[in-house]
């Protein structure tokens, strides 16, 4: 598999990320918020392997059904690893955009830290989409966890999932390779949901989950009722 490090515009289920500094640290801000965002976002799940994203490129194929096979995975997932560099760029971006006073900036940071607690959580922002039934967005259907590979492989479940209240309005998408007789490409309604996944920053023995030995961080979505229905995106952690 060709690694797509640095190809921010190319959707990939695997990205190189780094360096990953400790939460709250401030790194160089040469890169824009947008660039960092795209660098830290992996795309996986339905129809995203080896294809572009977007209305024409996303492979919302109608083959299979839930749990049938890898082709039957119902979700299209974009996951963003909210490391300290991205957080810092985001704070600066919004502070500057809204021309916040120093006090407003402090309040903004404090509100974010109070809500998501990045000092104690590994944060992953997730956007889920499906052209199938909306019930596939129900998180009760899914076993969501991360796998960290260092000297050994460890799995961790989120300690908290904060769903975004503002739900995007449903949109219509054309489904490549599926045609309605005499009508051209079929259109399906797309349902979407966004959320913050909060994973523990330290394990039960108080060891850092993402230690300096960590090589990869993998986010896994696995259906509860059928473990074969599974998709994963990986960040390769650069030292």
């Amino acid at each position: 598999m060709l690694f797509l490090a640095g190809c921010a515009s190319v959707p990939s289920y695997q990205k190189y990320v780094g360096p990953v500094s400790a939460s709250g640290g401030t790194g160089p801000n040469r890169e824009t918020f947008q660039t960092l965002w795209e660098d830290r976002t992996v795309y996986f799940g339905r129809g995203t392997s080896g294809r572009g994203s977007g209305i024409f490129g996303t492979g919302f194929s109608a083959l299979g059904g839930p749990g049938a096979s890898a082709a039957g995975f119902p979700l299209d997932i974009a996951a963003t690893f909210m490391d300290s560099l991205l957080l810092e760029a985001g704070f600066k971006h919004y502070s500057s955009l809204l021309e916040m006073s120093p006090q407003e900036q402090a309040d903004f940071r404090e509100a974010y830290q109070r809500r998501y607690d990045p000092a104690h959580h590994i944060l992953i922002w997730c956007r889920l989409r499906t052209t199938w039934a909306e019930l596939h967005l129900n998180l009760d259907r899914w076993n969501i966890f991360i796998e960290v590979q260092d000297d050994e492989l460890n799995q961790y479940e989120p300690v908290e999932i904060l769903e975004e209240q503002q739900i995007a309005r449903p949109a219509m998408m054309e489904v490549p390779f599926e045609f309605e007789p005499g009508q051209g490409p079929a259109r399906r309604q797309v349902h979407q949901k966004s959320m913050m996944l909060c994973f523990p920053r330290r394990d039960l023995l108080n060891n850092p989950v993402l230690s300096s030995k960590a090589k990869t961080l993998k986010l896994v979505f696995q259906e509860n009722t059928d473990q074969k229905t599974k998709a994963e995106g990986t960040w390769v952690l650069r030292k």
């Binding site: 040469r30 918020f33 965002w37 963003t80 500057s96 955009l97 956007r127 219509m172 998408m173 054309e174």
Partner: protein
């Protein structure tokens, strides 16, 4: 010893000119597109609701979805793509639709639309409020963000090269032509309505009637030096609030702090289609 002969310059020139010429011709060829009759006026809102399946065609090169419909009053156009840099380019330099009622490819008369997602919208990661930052803003700040999102420079410029004239019109249709745009799920949709007959308060009209063949040239990207300067001003905090004026005085979006990195101008795109305006009898 090898004997080298030099090829005559004229042959070398011909050798390169023919394929280059063919390439250029292929890139600018006019494609035929069917215009569908619209029994009801199309609501110009940037949404796909008035464009049923089969009413649009996807052009692989350059990667854009086009739709044409008309009634006896207006020609309705739909342009849709998923290229963020194109949307940014249209916001800055406009989407130009050249109209040639002779069915050729003359760029004498057209309109240019500057709408679309603002620079602020373009900065929203993934096209949505990602990362939880918005949720951490105060209600007043969230409202300001929403107001900034709404402040779009929706304006139409009518270009009449023969008369050496350019007139700015509101895009709400009050002066004849109308345009709107919407972005959703990483797709950018532009919808326009152009009066068929000249008249109205602006005098704007294609000058064609149902059944007649016309050519339409869609052009965007390839930011000019002047537009690039405007882009830099709008991105660089030219106004007191750092949300500098967009093209032609519109309230453009802006990026804070004069940050200039990450601005990439899209390459110029041009697509010509020839169509016969539909008649109510299907002719």
């Amino acid at each position: 010893m090898a004997h080298l002969t030099s090829r005559p310059a004229s042959i070398t020139l011909l050798f390169w000119c023919i394929p280059i010429g063919l390439l250029l011709m292929a890139g600018c060829k006019t494609q035929e597109l069917q215009t569908r009759w619209s029994a009801e006026p199309v609501k110009v809102d940037g949404e796909m609701t008035d464009w049923p399946s089969g009413s649009t065609v996807y052009f692989e090169d350059p990667g854009v979805q086009l739709g044409l419909r008309n009634d006896d009053q207006n020609l309705y156009l739909l342009v849709r793509f998923d290229n963020r840099s194109w949307a940014r380019a249209i916001r800055m330099g406009g989407l130009t639709v050249w109209l040639d009622s002779s069915g050729k490819k003359k760029k004498d008369f057209g309109i240019r639309y500057f709408g679309g997602p603002s620079a602020f919208d373009m900065q929203k990661p993934g096209g949505s409020q990602g990362g939880g930052f918005r949720e951490s803003l105060s209600p007043e700040q969230q409202q300001r963000l929403e107001e900034m999102e709404k402040a779009r420079a929706d304006q139409i410029l009518v270009i009449d090269k023969k008369a050496d004239n350019e007139i700015g019109l509101p895009a709400d249709g009050s002066a004849g032509p109308a345009a709107s745009s919407a972005s959703s799920q990483d797709a950018y949709t532009y919808e326009l309505s152009l009066p068929l007959r000249k008249g109205g308060t602006s005098g704007f009209g294609i000058g064609a009637e149902p059944g007649k063949i016309i050519s339409l040239g869609f052009e965007w990207g390839g930011v000019s030096r002047e537009d690039r300067q405007k882009m830099m001003e709008s991105m660089g905090g030219g106004s007191p609030r750092g949300m500098g004026g967009g093209p032609h005085g519109g309230p453009g979006g802006g990026m804070p702090g004069g940050r200039r990195s990450g601005i990439k101008s899209a390459e110029k795109q041009e697509l010509w289609v020839k169509t016969r305006l539909a008649s109510p009898d299907g002719g």
